[in-house]
Every structure is written in C-alpha cells, then in structure tokens.
Symmetry: D2
Subunit: 350 residues, 4 copies
C-alpha cells in the first residue's frame, strides 16, 4: 500500500486527490495537510467525506511528512513546494507538485510570468513535466513530477499531434479556452462569489495568463523550435470543466490542404492506444459534461477549407485530468502500477 500525503488537502485539487485515492486499491492518504485548518476534522471541511475519512488536518511540515509517506502531493500556491523541497526529502519520497514551480525549464521565464523568486532552481532540471501521455518514460524515473496546469493539459494534448507531425503552423496557433470556477480555487474572494460568477462569462489574463509559457514550451518541444501563441482563458458559470478551442493554419502540401483523413491519422498515431484520450467521431465535438468526474480528454477537429485553418477542440475535467486525476496517473507511473489504477471513472451525467 502506497502511503500518500497531501499538502494543501483542503483546496479543491487536494480534496479531489483525497476522493480519488479513497477508491484507489493500492494507495491511501495518511496525511491531510492544511495549514488553515490544523486539528479540524477533514470531513468537517468537506462534508462529502463524512463517515469516510476520520482524520484531522495536519500542518505542512514536509520534513516530517517525508518520514511517513511514499509520495507527497503538493496542491499549494506557487512557490511553496520550491521553498520546502530539499535533497533529504527527495531521497525519501516522490513529490508530485501541482503548482507551477517545476513546470518551466527556464527559471527566468518562471520568475517573469509568476513574479516570484524561485527558491529551488537547482531542481528544475531534474523535475519531469508530468503530462503522462507524452512523458511517461521520463516520469517513471523522476523524483519530482511537475503536474501540468489544467488549461495546459487540455491545450497541449488537443494540438500536440498536429504540431509534432508538422501539419499546422505553430506560430498561427490561437488557444481560446474556458474554465469552470473550481479552477479559481477555494480562496474567499469577492470575484468568486456565487452572484459574481453566476449568469456571466468573462475573459481574463488576456495576453498574459501564466499558462501561456507552459503551453509554448511544451508545444515548442513538439515543433522542434520556440513558438509564441495566443492564449485567452475565460471563466464560465459552472463548477468543473475546461474547453479549449484552438485555431491554426494548416500547412499545404503541393498547394493542397491536408484532408480530414490525414489529420485523423496524425491524431490516431499518438492517441489510438491512450486509455484516457478519446478521439470523437467525425463532427462530434467535445462537451465538458461528457468528461465530468473522469480522467478523459475528449478531442476532435474541423477543417475549414474556406480559411485554410483547422479548429481543434478538447475538453477535460479541470480537477481530474487537469489536476488530481493526472497527479494520480503520475503516481501510478512512478510506482510501476497500471496507469489507470483508481482512475476508471465513468463520467457522471447529468
């Protein structure tokens, strides 16, 4: 039985890890860390765990935690994981960090977009970007897994095969995405009150959202060169779900656009055998309701011959594949388990 600790267990992502691991046959949570609620019963914060979890919230002492568990999930604000990690800890446990601390390889890019100093730059190099479908071999050997952002998971996977195969011009890539409100976390802010969010939609972080460099870096690896893109997130009035609609110019061969079949083949080359990626049938588009509560990524595309562009679309549950589900998937890889263990979740509808 893998022993897991969660730092930040009372945030939405942390609580989703707790939910997933409760049903995981080979792992259990033994440390529910939450600085804000120390000594309070975890189930008094999240009533869904009443009669299921008896534990009380603990502090975020990573040293002590490292002695008690096999894997630590840090579902905390940027900077915390980097400020706590050290060699002693890494020699004892695996760390799966849900913050952005180890996602970007260039520390100056991190510091520019996140506007904080990185406290453990020496570990950036060894940390592995935990986008399981792309990096599973490296993940298996890692000590620190940088769990990808929610928008980025969806945005990258939706476009990856076409960038990799050179079917689209990556410099024309525009990612227009929307997210449910749980992505904003559980902090008590006026902007996230029910009445402020309900019955409204809005863009935010326009041209400067922090997930931009993460998408650029990863798709840049696929493209084999640096790329810059536009990424615009929007807030939609729903609890969960990310929907990415992405635009790019198709690259013509012999003055002809790639056909539907050629694009389909590219997607299948990479995703055909992926448990968690569902390439939808032709002309069926992703909807967040069909992935809610599950680790699936639903993907499809449409070629617009009039403009020569392709519209790629992807949907995930931001708390599952966009956070906790992928974190558990990474844990499974790290510990040599079947990748879908504890993650055979049927999306719940309605």
């Amino acid at each position: 039985m893998i022993k897991a600790g969660i730092i930040g267990a009372t945030g939405y992502a942390g609580a989703e890890i707790a939910r997933l691991l409760l049903a995981h046959p080979q792992a259990e949570v033994v440390w529910y860390g939450s600085r804000s609620y120390i000594d309070e019963k975890y189930s008094s914060i999240y009533g869904n765990f009443f009669k299921l979890v008896d534990a009380k919230c603990m502090d975020d002492n990573m040293e002590e935690l490292a002695d008690q568990v096999d894997v630590i999930f840090t579902a905390t604000p940027q900077g915390l994981c980097a400020s706590l990690v050290n060699e002693d800890i890494l020699n004892k446990v695996k760390i799966i960090d849900l913050s952005a601390d180890f996602r970007l390889k260039d520390v100056s890019v991190y510091e520019k977009w996140y506007k904080i100093e990185h406290k453990a730059p020496s570990y950036i190099e060894e940390a592995v970007y935990g986008l399981c479908e792309i990096n599973r071999k490296d993940i298996a050997k890692a000590r620190i897994v940088a769990n990808p952002g929610c928008y980025t998971t969806c945005s990258i996977l939706t476009a990856y095969p076409l960038v990799k195969e050179g079917l689209i011009d990556p410099d024309t890539l525009i990612v227009d995405a929307l997210s449910g409100v749980s992505g904003a976390g559980r902090g008590a802010k006026v902007a996230n009150l029910y009445c402020e969010v309900n019955e409204s939609a809005k863009p935010y972080g326009v041209a400067n959202h922090r997930h931009t460099p993460e998408i650029e870096e990863q798709l840049g690896y696929a493209a084999g060169k640096e790329i810059v893109i536009n990424f615009t997130p929007h807030l939609a009035p729903m609890n969960r779900g990310i929907l990415a609609t992405e635009y790019a110019s198709l690259i013509k061969k012999d003055d002809k656009l790639p056909t539907y079949e050629e694009v389909r083949v590219a997607y299948e080359k990479y995703y055909k055998n992926e448990t968690f990626i569902r390439l939808l049938d032709k002309d069926v588009y992703p909807e967040t309701r069909w992935v809610e509560g599950s680790n699936f990524v639903d993907i499809n595309f449409k070629i617009d011959e009039r403009t020569g562009r392709i519209i790629m679309m992807g949907a995930i549950d931001n708390l599952v594949k966009g956070a906790a589900g992928q974190a558990v998937q990474n844990m499974n890889i790290l510990f040599g388990l079947s990748e879908d263990m504890g993650l055979k979740l049927v999306p719940a509808f309605p």
Copy 2:
C-alpha cells in the same frame, strides 16, 4: 456475473444504472433498452459512455429480454412495467421496477393518484417495496421489487425512526421538499428547458403530488395506523439532489418534550449500522452537495422548544439513492451480494 437489462436506458435514471453497473464487479448490462433510440449507439445518446459502452439501443421486448438476463430494471413511465410483466417472465428473472406500478398496495389508491388503470393488480401483493434499510429481508425473497420514489426515499427515511418510536405525532407531519431537475426526466418539454428552470424556484403538485400516498403508506406501517400528511415538492435550479425539510409536533411525556439525546438515540437505533445513512453531527444540516453522486442519505434534526416541533432534514442524490443506486442496492440484496457492492461511491465535490 449477473446479467442485467435496462428498459428505459436512455432516461436519466436508466443511464445512472448503466453508469453504476459499469463499475460493479459482479454485474454487467447486456441490454440497453430504449424504444426511442433503437439501433442507435448508446454512447451517441450519452457521450460520457464513449469508448466505455459499445452497445446499441434495443427495444423493450421483456419476453425476449427475460431469456437473456438475470435481472431487469424498468426505468420507464408509470404503467409500462405492469403492462408487460407476467408469470412466465417472473419465473425467469427478477424485476426491479423504478416506476410506481408496484409501490402502493391498494390498487384504488394507485389508480386515483396516477389516473391510469393498473394492468397487473395480481402482482401488487407479492411485490416488495424496495426501501432497503427498512425491508431488506423481504426484498431478498422477492420476484418484483418496487423501487421507491426519489422524494419518498428521502422523506420516509428522514422521519421513520421517530414515527416508529412514537416520538412525533404523525398527523402533524409536513414534508416540504425540493428536487433538482433531473427528477423531471429527459422528456422534451418547454417547462424543463434551461431558461425556464434556471434562476427560479417553484412549488408544484401542491397537495396532490403522487409521492404523497407512498409516504403515507410506508410511514403508516411505521406508525401502526393510517396517516395523512402534507407533502409539497419544489423545483430548484440544479441537476441533482433532494432535500426534505419535515416538521412534526413532538409528543410530550410527563409534559416534557423529548430531549436532543432521546431523539438521537431513536435515530441511532435504526441507522447506526447502516452503511448508506449518515446521521450528521449536532447542528450540522444536510446539504445536497455532500451526497452528490453517492448512495448516501444525510439526516439530522433540530428541536424547536418554542413551538414544540421538531424539524427533520434529509438529503439524497435523487438519481442514486433516489433511483439507480437504490435499484442496484436492491439487486445486491436479491442476489445475495454485499449490499454496498458497486456502491462505495465517494460524493464528488464541487
């Protein structure tokens, strides 16, 4: 492996049975019956099942179905199950009927409240009311289980111990309840369109909702006499969930109201060992979010010394404990399995 057929598999309750049985270790759905969608892929109706269910929708030929399965779930409008059932079928399969056809023992009460003729009154007597926590012994031996209504499951369980123990006057019982919209089914009606329901709440079926006689009959057994109550359902703008707030006058002993502890003891007497019933801590009240996606019933109460009344409150997920979950629980009982098999569902939040 128990083979199950669902008649009405494309309604919300039918689809929830499908979802639950996909994760059930000892049962599988082999017949997705849906008159409206015959020969269409089930996953084209419910995209959440894409890549998980390959089957096409079948008709509702119960005779043929009886040859192929061990248990039939009828998640269909009132009258259908009664019109199809016969001795030949019942000799081959168990039937768990999610409609009201076999819930009321008095056929005239059924015909008065449902305004249709009962087509199989001869089976009413032998059918067992499938409220598992109350009737599990009889259920185990049944051929037909009448799966309780959603409002009724919540309303009865919330008041049952106090009626049974004579702590409240059942003739003063008032059940004020609200439901999410999935309880209204998937029929294409203007009244259930998004814009008609969203941002609004309304009472309906005032003083004549069909779940009234069902609550009265069952609580009448507990009271040991016939009772009449008030039951008012309301529609609330959310997908799932039933919340029942119930009022009754406490019966004084020696001119004193029962204490909190006395009432608590009564609840615990019946529910202490029930897996799916959670008596909440003092002054913590049920909220539908904490049971969503699970088979739990959350219950608590508050004594108002000023008025001498008790306020009892219960919450369930209408599609799980109020329909599909309880149906699977009944299946487990019928087939001698552990009652919680396939039902260890952690409520999903948010």
Copy 3:
C-alpha cells in the same frame, strides 16, 4: 428632485437602490457611501453603472450626509444605523434603514436574536415598520422607516389576510422558505463562493433565524395576540428570489373548512387594489422567475381537504420588494409621491 444618500452602496441591496433611483423621475443619488471603497469610482465596483454613474464612493459620515440629502438609505449590517442616528440628523433627513435595527419593538428581543446591544433604543418606538401595503399611513409620517427583511416581507404578506381574518390558526403556522444567494450579501466568505453554493441546496438558521421574531411580531399584530411560528430558510443556487411555502390549519366553522372562495375573498379584501401584489389565478403557483427584477409579490394558496391545512405560497425578488424596491416605495410614501413611481418594473425573463 429628492436627494438621496446611500450608506452601504456597494452591497447588493445598496446597488439595487442605486439602479432603481437612476430610473426614478423625482429622486437622484448624490452620495454613494461605502467605507470599503472610499474614493474609488462606483462604476469600477459595479461595471453595470459604467457611463451611467460617474461618482466616487464616499464614507459613511451620516452627519455630513444629513446636510446634503433629503433621505438616507442605510443598507448596512445590523447595528450601524442605530449607532449613527441622532436627533440632529433626524431633524434634517428621513432615514430608511434596511438593517434590522428598528424592526422589532422589543429591544430585548432584538438583543437576544441579534446578539448585539442596541445603541439607540429610544428611537425604536417612533420608527415605523415599512411594510408598505400594511403600514402606509404610519410610514407617511415617519422619520425612521424600518425596511422589512426579505424573508419577512414575503412571509408576512403571504399569510397576512388569513391571519387577520381569523381563517387560520396562527399557532400552527410553518413558514418554509428559500432564497437566492444575493440575500447573503457581498462579503467574501468561503460559504458563498460559486462552487460551494452551485448545484446544492441547504437549510440554515433552523429554528433560530433572525427573521423569525419579525414575522411573529407583525403577524401577531394581525392576529391580535402573540404567536410563535416555525420558520426555516434554505439557500438555493440562484442569484435572486424568495419563495415562501407556508402551512397552517384552517379554522372550521360549523365543522366545515373554509372554501376556496372564502379564502380568496379574504385575500382580495386586502390586496385587490394593491399595485404590487398579484393574486394568481387558481392553481397557478408563484415562481420566482415571474417576479425577478420587479417589485411584485405573487401569492396563491391551495386548500388540502385531506389534512385540513392550507398551503400559502408567495414569491418576491429579494433585492427589490425584499429590499431596495420596498425602500424606494417607502421613500415615495414619505415624500408624498405616487407609490409606484420608479417602480413600474416589468419582471425580466428569462
């Protein structure tokens, strides 16, 4: 032109007063008081007022304000108005207080339910309870109008004629109500975050909500005696709206229940000529969507002959008739204007 000041202009009720007065032909807001946002542009807090209101937020100096305006609306937490009011101010301006400070005539009841000391008990006696349809004559002469609570407005008006006419036994009265989330105010609390409220319903303040004594006092006047009732509020996932479902035993005459017509006549006696009260057609029940954005109260009832009870139902927009609309209606009365001036609002749907 009546000059109005709002203390608490950045709360939801305060902002609704601002919205209503913008369209009022004889009044204008000249002071947007908001301690939290002093010197910030009001339209930067509420973007709906962009290009409509140029003013910046002011402090809540009631002395200074009294020199500049004819009427002050205090849309502030309990205790603030009572702590600021004095004879000097009252000699200059009318005060319409949306808090509970002057609603209850018995200061000990106030202090018991609100758990704060009343700072101006000497003004309680002269303050007039601003339920316009009941008290308009006294309101016209008042210096302080205690604007009723949202739940109370709906709860009282729904039952008032039957209590007054002695058709129901007031001691059997149970008020089960639900509210949209704007009633909880704009404070940054975890409990009111979008994801905490969305897709859920819950009771709160069970047997001890502060609107209870207010309902009891006012309906007690109608009954001609002290009464105690049960009042249970619930939170529903929608921005606006209050729905009250009320139960009481009908009083028999000559062993017969009152008829539908007799009850109807009682309602019409009081409400027939009321602009803002709509007695719905038989068997049409109030829904909050039909009053949203307006000052209407929709009311209807159903007699249950089986139990001898009547179910009374009422719906209002909590921010309009339940707060700002009634406040403006009170202002109109205070200044001798037509009561519906600026309030001919057609409910907006959907």
Copy 4:
C-alpha cells in the same frame, strides 16, 4: 402612439420586445401573434406579464395585422417573414424582421447557408441591415429592416473600427464567441433541457454557423473587399449574454505595431458619441453580467506585442442589443424618435 404587432410573441425575443415596449412612452403592442398559443392569455405563457398584459395571443395573419398597426416585428424562424411580405403590406407598415431573411444581400449565400429557398428575393435589395450604429441613416428611410443576429451584432461592432481604419488584417480575423441559452429559443428540444446544458460548455456550428456570412458581409463593407473569417460559437450555461473574443493580426507601419493609443483613437472615432457602446477603461474587459438586461455593447481590446495580434472583446445581452433592444432602437429610428427612447435600461446585477 405607435401601434406595434409582434409575430412570434411567445419566443424569447418576442417576449423581450413585449417587455421593452411596455415601458416605451410612444409605442404599444396591440397584437401578440403566436400561432402555437392562439386565444390563450399572453400572461398565462409568460407569468411575468400577469396584471400587466391582458391580451390573448393572435395568429400571424400579416395582412390583417398590417391594417391595425404601424410596425410589425417578426420574431420568427427563418423563411416566415419572406413568405408573408408583399407590396400591399409594405405600403401600410414598417417591418422589422428579427429573422435572417433580409440580412444577406446575395440570395445564393442565404440559400446555401440556411438551406431554404428565399420566397421574396425581390425585397432583399431594398431591405436595410439594421445595425443601428453603422446604418442609421439608411434605416431611417427603410420599409424593411433586417435586424442583425445576436452573435453578429456583437462580433461586428467589436471589430468594426479596426477593420474600417485598416489597423488589422481582416483575413486573419477569428471570432470565438459564447452565448447564453436563450439564444437557442424556446423550442422543446432535448438538447436545451436544463440538465443537458447546465454545468457544461460546448462548441457548435463549427466552421458552418449561419452568422458567419453575415459577419463577413458587413465587415467586408468596412474592409472594402470580400473577406473570410473563422467564427466559432459556444454554448455556456447561463440565460443571457454573448461574449465575443476576436483575434487579428495588427498591420505594422514602418515595421511597428500600432500603439494602444492609436487603436483607442480608432475606436473612439466611431463610438465616442454612441449611447449604447461603452469603450471600457484600459485593462477592463467585457463581462456579460455588466450588460445584462440593457442595450449596451461593452468593448475593449488588448495588444499582444509578442504575437503581433490584437485581442478584441465585446459583450452584449443577446436578447436586448442582440435582438429586441436593437429592434426597438430600429423602430425609434424608423419613426423619428430619440434612438434611446424606452431603452435607457440600467443593467441589472446580480
């Protein structure tokens, strides 16, 4: 007093016209046409009009209607207006058509995208596209006004000044938009049921939505040449609101991108004096909540120097500026009234 008739008065757009005209000082509705509800009281369909509108629904006999009114609003499916209009009618009344029948000048484009035959192509030429801020001079003289689509109103106005001034390359224009559900109309379809739409977001009409040629035609006039664009609509779980996020490459001059100020000047050149267009302050982006219930269009932009693109954003209430409000604005222009008469609506929040 202008007498108005509405054909399609029981659709959402028709009902919104009814709501707006109730508060219009110089117009009144004398004919509530609704084929589906003939002889039913209008307020029995839309309870918000109870006690405000006494009329019953009429048929859609345009000939007869033309004798009784000054202006006819057709808020009906595509094809109906074109099938009814004739010279006799147009000699008597003005027609404001909310369908697409007269929006596209090229009948073959209409027939290709709408897949129906145009029944009155002879009137296409004289019909005026009723985008008030652009075409008010021509509208004033028209007999038929083609009221623009909801997405198109928002999409065109958001980009118009930059296309007109040559600041962006129109062939790079991508419009990514989302809409509330009222845009889908009041037809009883499973896809628009509460539970199907709630808690989900989806793209639809990808690369083939019918508003595409309308945007292309109008922005093509501004560009002085034919253009093709990408337009992707999405459905979001809210009643009202359209949010358009638009991307285009800025055109460099002397190898430099236009500055914020240069772009701002272009917007102000066209919109500075427009009552209903609000250019937001720098870095404040449109949100649908701030325009809900009003005729406003909120617009802003952000230059992304990294990619050389501009992101333009606009928000409207789809039922007001996107349908009924603009229709009333067109009526005001047609009859020489102040353009904002009856439209000084303060957005309602929350």
